[in-house]
């Protein structure tokens, strides 16, 4: 089965400076459209309009945090199969294992290198079993 193209990414983080960094960093990946949201709740509202190929979630956000956002996505058939990556400062091995159990395809630790971030995302995308996702 051929791999689908990564065209649209949604990044969710309550920290505006990090959202801006991610937009700039992913701008280095040609042909990629990047949308951002400031909260899990807002992301859940925007998902039907954005229809991203991949969602990147911060973990600790006020209100609906990253893990809750993922659980609510998985409970909705429209979004259940969208791969999710956590981008978090909470990247100790036990936490990473928990995020993987929740269904995250990968966990990227903060701080990340903005110069490498785009390639990291592409590599994660290429490693996803899209037949199962």
């Amino acid at each position: 089965m051929s791999r689908p193209l990564l065209r649209t990414v949604l990044y969710v983080d309550d920290e505006p400076d990090i959202r801006e960094i991610v937009e700039l960093a992913l701008g280095l990946v040609g042909g990629l459209s990047v949308a951002t949201c400031e909260s899990g709740e807002r992301a859940l509202q925007c998902l039907p309009d954005i229809t991203p190929d991949l969602v990147l979630l911060d973990v600790m956000m006020p209100g609906t945090d990253g893990p809750t956002t993922l659980q609510r996505m998985r409970a909705d058939p429209r979004f259940a199969n969208i791969p999710v990556v956590f981008v978090t400062a909470k990247a100790m091995p036990a936490e990473v294992a928990r995020f993987r159990e929740l269904g995250a395809v990968a966990v990227i630790a903060k701080p990340f290198d903005p110069m490498q971030f785009g390639q990291q995302i592409v590599t994660i995308w290429e490693g996803i079993d899209h037949g199962r996702a």
Binding site: D14, E15, D17, I18, G27, L28, M60, K110, P111, P114
Partner: protein, 110 residues
């Protein structure tokens, strides 16, 4: 200037905005500590979230010492069973402010 140089420059600009904004948030942190002192336990959770945000973003922009102090503050705010929590929050907030001011001075000196 290629797009990578441009990205580096923009990150440096965002870092400058970030540290100034963080300095502004420290006033709110003092107010939250006052609320904890008055018995508002929910304020400790707000301190934890604010400290976590500074911790995560500080290291992104190369403010390692700021990030480290924010992490210490986050850990203190989590430990709501500690009877000395308010005093420890105060000490950590002072240390964080010191590091934020040092980072601003260092950027000004560049």
């Amino acid at each position: 200037m290629d797009e990578r140089d441009e990205l580096q420059q923009k990150i440096a600009d965002i870092a400058g905005r970030y540290i100034q904004r963080t300095a502004g948030e420290l006033g709110g942190l003092r107010e939250l500590i006052a609320k904890v002192r008055a018995g508002n336990t929910a304020a400790a959770k707000e301190i934890e979230q604010l400290a976590h945000k500074i911790y995560g973003s500080g290291s992104m922009f190369g403010f390692e010492a700021v990030s480290e102090q924010a992490r210490e503050l986050e850990l203190v705010a989590k430990d709501t069973a500690d009877p000395q929590m308010v005093e420890r929050l105060q000490v950590r907030a002072d240390a964080l402010e010191e590091q934020v001011q040092a980072a601003i001075r260092a950027r000004g000196a560049q």
